[in-house]
C-alpha cells in the first residue's frame, strides 16, 4: 500500500449507515452465508445479513461481471429475411463489497481477456465499467489458499477501488481510485491516525507471514510443458467435472448456443470448461482434446503458459477454490510445485 494512498477510518458502528447509503445509490453486492458451508456474493437488501468476516466466499464475484448465462441477441424469422435485436448491455452502477484481494486481482485477469484486445467485449465492458470494487484484507487463509505463491498478497490492492482492513471496532479504509473515493464519501469517516495505519500494516504483514510462498512461480511457469507425464497422472484421477473451472475467479471460457422457438429465438453465451468432454468438440465429431489427459494439460497450460505469453499475467490468483472443491483432491499447488522443482 503506497504511503500516498488516502487513509480513512469507518467506525464499525457507522457501517450500517454506509451500507444504507450505498444501497440508495448503487446496486450493492456482498458476501451472504447461504448455508453453513456456502457463502456467495448476492445482492444486499435492507434485511440481508452481510457476512464480511469469516472465510473467503465459496464463489467469487465473477458472475456479477461475467454471468454464467448472458443473452447476446434475439432473432425472428420474417418475410424478407430474419431480424436481429441486440440484447443490450447491463451498466447498472454496482458496488461489490468485501472482495478478497485474490478475487479483485482475478477481475484484472478477466479484464486482460475481455478488454485488452482490440475488440472489447461490450457485455463484459458494460458491467465491469459500472462496478466499484470494495475489498477486504484477508485475515484467515483457507486451507487451499496460495495467493502469495502466485505474486499476490492477503492485503493486495490490484483491482480494488478501496481496501477495508478490519481493526475490530473500526475499518481502516485505503482509498485507491476516484470511484473508491466516491463510495467512501458516503460513509461517516474520520481521518486515520498513525496508530490505525500501524495496526493495519501490522495485520497485513501478519496475514502475509502466515502464508509463505510454496514454490517459485517463475520456475513453474518456465517448466510447464506439453509432454509432461504428469498430465496423464492427473487425468487418471480426474472425474471431469467442472467444479474447478466454475469456481475459478479467472476461468472465462464460454460456449455460444441458440435457443429456438417456431418463429425465432435467442442466442446466448454460457460458461463452458475445458474439463468437459464436449468442450470445443466439432460438429463432425472431431475432438481436439480427446481424453482427460489433454484436458488436464489445457487447464494448467492455459493459466500458466498461454495467458502469460499473451498478456504477461498468469490466469491464477491463488484463491484456492479449485484446491478445496476438487472431489478427488487434485491440488494445483502440487502440480505447480512439481513443475517448479522440474520433477515432471
Amino acid at each position: 500500500v503506497s504511503q500516498q494512498s488516502e487513509q480513512l477510518v469507518i467506525p464499525t458502528s457507522a457501517l450500517g449507515g454506509w451500507l444504507e447509503r450505498l444501497q440508495a445509490s448503487y446496486r450493492l453486492i456482498g458476501p451472504v452465508a447461504e448455508t453453513d458451508a456456502v457463502i456467495a456474493y448476492r445482492p444486499i437488501g435492507p434485511d440481508t445479513a452481510l457476512r464480511l468476516d469469516g472465510p473467503r466466499p465459496t464463489v467469487s464475484p465473477k458472475p456479477h461481471v461475467f454471468p454464467q448465462t448472458e443473452t447476446l441477441f434475439s432473432f425472428r424469422g420474417a418475410a424478407g429475411g430474419p431480424t436481429l435485436t441486440p440484447a443490450g448491455t447491463h451498466a447498472v452502477p454496482t458496488v461489490v463489497l468485501g472482495v478478497r484481494p485474490c478475487d479483485a486481482r482475478a477481475l484484472r485477469r478477466l479484464d486482460d481477456v475481455f478488454l485488452a484486445r482490440t475488440e472489447r467485449d461490450v457485455h463484459y465492458a458494460a458491467r465491469r465499467g459500472a462496478t466499484v470494487v470494495a475489498g477486504l484484507a484477508c485475515v484467515t487463509p483457507n486451507w487451499g489458499c496460495f495467493c502469495t505463491s502466485v505474486g499476490g498478497s492477503p492485503a493486495g490492492t490490484d483491482g480494488l477501488d478501496l481496501l477495508l482492513t478490519d481493526l475490530g471496532d473500526r475499518y481502516q479504509v485505503t482509498v485507491l481510485t476516484a470511484a473508491g473515493r466516491d463510495i467512501a464519501a458516503l460513509a461517516e469517516t474520520v481521518a486515520a491516525t498513525t496508530l490505525d495505519r500501524q495496526k493495519a500494516e501490522a495485520q497485513h504483514a501478519e496475514s502475509a507471514g502466515r502464508m509463505p510462498a510454496l514454490f517459485d512461480i517463475e520456475s513453474a511457469v518456465h517448466n510447464v510443458r506439453w509432454e509432461a507425464p504428469l498430465w496423464a497422472e492427473v487425468a487418471q484421477r480426474c472425474l471431469a467435472c467442472g467444479a474447478c473451472s466454475y469456481l475459478c475467479p479467472t476461468c472465462h471460457c464460454f460456449d455460444i448456443q441458440d435457443e429456438v422457438t417456431s418463429d425465432g429465438g435467442v442466442r446466448f453465451r454460457c460458461w463452458d470448461t475445458c474439463q468437459f468432454s464436449e468442450f470445443t468438440r466439432m460438429g463432425a465429431g472431431h475432438n481436439p482434446r480427446p481424453s482427460q489427459t489433454e484436458r488436464a494439460r489445457q487447464r494448467v497450460s492455459h493459466k500458466f503458459k498461454y495467458l502469460v505469453e499473451e498478456f504477461g499475467n498468469a490466469g491464477c490468483t491463488g484463491c484456492g477454490r479449485c484446491v478445496e472443491r476438487c472431489p478427488v483432491n487434485i491440488d494445483i499447488r502440487a502440480i505447480l510445485q512439481a513443475f517448479a522443482w522440474d520433477r515432471r
Partner: protein, 323 residues
C-alpha cells in the same frame, strides 16, 4: 500401524503378486493431512502406499466402468462403495469375474467442514488419527482432540450398511451400526411434511443455486452414461443456459435415473460446491422404491433391479395419488 490399513496393504500385495488383479483401487495420502486421493496400485511393491482412515471419503466404484475390460480390478470398498460395485455388476457395467471387492468395515468418514469448526480454518493444520476414533489436531490455536463420531459426514451418520453387505475379501470385524442408521429417511419425512408449494419453492431455490459444474454427476458411480442426456447436442434435451428450470430438469432427471440404483453413498452431496442437499432428492425416490418394490439397491449382485426388470404383477400405483 493400524490393523485395517495393514490388512489392506497385505491384501493388495497378495492380489498383485499372484497376478489375480491388474490394479488395486484404493486410497493414498492426499495433498493435505485431512484428504486422501484415489490411487491406482499396479505393482505389489507399491501396496504400502495404501492408507485407511476417516478421510477415505471417495466412492472408488466410480472408476470401474472405464477400467473394466482391461483386466481384473480390486477395489478397497466401504459399505456404500460395495453397494455401488454390486449395482455395476447387476447392470453389466463390470463383469463379476473382473472385480475383487476388498470389503472394509467403515465407522464413518469425517466432514472436513466440521473438522474446521465454526469459522475455523484448516490452513496449516496437522492431523493425526489414533487408528480408532480420535483425531489429534494441531495449529496456531494449539493441540486438541476431536472424536470422529462427533464430526461425521451426515451421509455416514445415517448410513445403514457401513459394513459391506457383499465382498470377496472381508477385512477386520463388522463395524458397529452407525448411530443414525434408523434416521436414514428423516430428511425425506421432514420435507414431505411441508406443503407442496413450500417444497417446490425449496427445490427451486436449490436449482437457482446450482452452477451446473456436474460434480454430482461426475462422482456418481451410477452415472456412467457415455453421453448424459444433459450433454446430448442433437437432439438437445436440455439447454446449456443456467436457469432454475433447466437446472431442475437436470437434478430431477438424474434423480429419476437413479431410482432403485442409488446406494446413498452421498458423494453427490459431498462434491456439490453449492451445498445442495442432493441426498434428500435421491432418498425420496429410494423411499418409494423400497415401499413399492421391497428392494434395497446394491446388496445382491444376482438380484433383479426393480426398474431394470419386468414382472406382470409389478405395482402400478395410481398416478393421481397425492403425496
Amino acid at each position: 500401524m493400524q490393523e485395517l490399513e495393514q490388512a489392506i496393504r497385505d491384501t493388495a500385495r497378495k492380489l498383485l503378486a499372484a497376478n489375480q488383479v491388474r490394479v488395486v483401487l484404493g486410497y493414498a495420502p492426499g495433498s493435505v493431512p485431512f484428504r486422501t486421493v484415489p490411487v491406482f496400485i499396479e505393482t505389489a511393491g507399491d501396496a504400502d502406499r495404501l492408507v485407511w482412515g476417516p478421510f477415505c471419503t471417495n466412492n472408488l466404484a466410480v472408476y470401474l466402468p472405464a477400467l473394466a475390460g482391461a483386466g481384473p480390478v480390486a477395489v478397497v470398498a466401504k459399505g456404500c462403495d460395495s453397494r455401488s460395485i454390486v449395482t455395476l455388476i447387476q447392470e453389466h457395467q463390470v463383469a463379476r469375474g473382473q472385480v475383487v471387492i476388498i470389503g472394509v468395515p467403515c465407522t464413518g468418514m469425517a466432514d472436513i467442514a466440521r473438522l474446521a469448526g465454526d469459522g475455523g480454518s484448516l490452513h496449516g493444520i496437522s492431523v493425526t488419527w489414533d487408528g480408532r476414533g480420535t483425531l489429534g489436531l494441531g495449529d496456531a490455536r494449539g493441540e486438541r482432540q476431536v472424536m470422529v463420531k462427533n464430526i461425521l459426514q451426515e451421509r455416514c451418520r445415517v448410513c445403514e450398511h457401513n459394513t459391506p453387505a457383499f465382498a470377496d475379501v472381508r477385512l477386520g470385524e463388522a463395524a458397529p451400526r452407525m448411530p443414525g442408521a434408523a434416521e436414514a429417511f428423516a430428511v425425506v419425512e421432514e420435507l414431505n411434511r411441508r406443503p407442496p408449494a413450500e417444497r417446490r419453492a425449496f427445490w427451486r431455490s436449490m436449482a437457482e443455486r446450482c452452477i451446473r459444474c456436474y460434480a454430482c454427476r461426475s462422482v456418481c458411480p451410477a452415472c456412467y452414461c457415455r453421453t448424459c442426456f444433459m450433454d446430448k447436442a442433437s437432439p438437445r434435451w436440455a439447454s446449456k443456459a443456467n436457469t432454475a428450470d433447466e437446472n431442475w430438469m437436470f437434478h430431477a432427471g438424474r434423480a429419476f435415473h437413479l431410482a432403485g440404483r442409488c446406494v446413498e453413498c452421498g458423494e453427490c452431496e459431498r462434491a456439490c460446491p453449492m451445498g445442495i442437499p442432493l441426498s434428500a432428492l435421491n432418498r425420496m425416490l429410494d423411499q418409494d422404491v423400497r415401499a413399492r418394490f421391497g428392494y434395497t439397491a446394491g446388496l445382491e449382485p444376482d438380484g433383479a433391479a426393480p426398474l431394470g426388470s419386468f414382472q406382470p404383477d409389478d405395482p402400478d400405483p395410481d398416478c393421481s395419488e397425492e403425496r
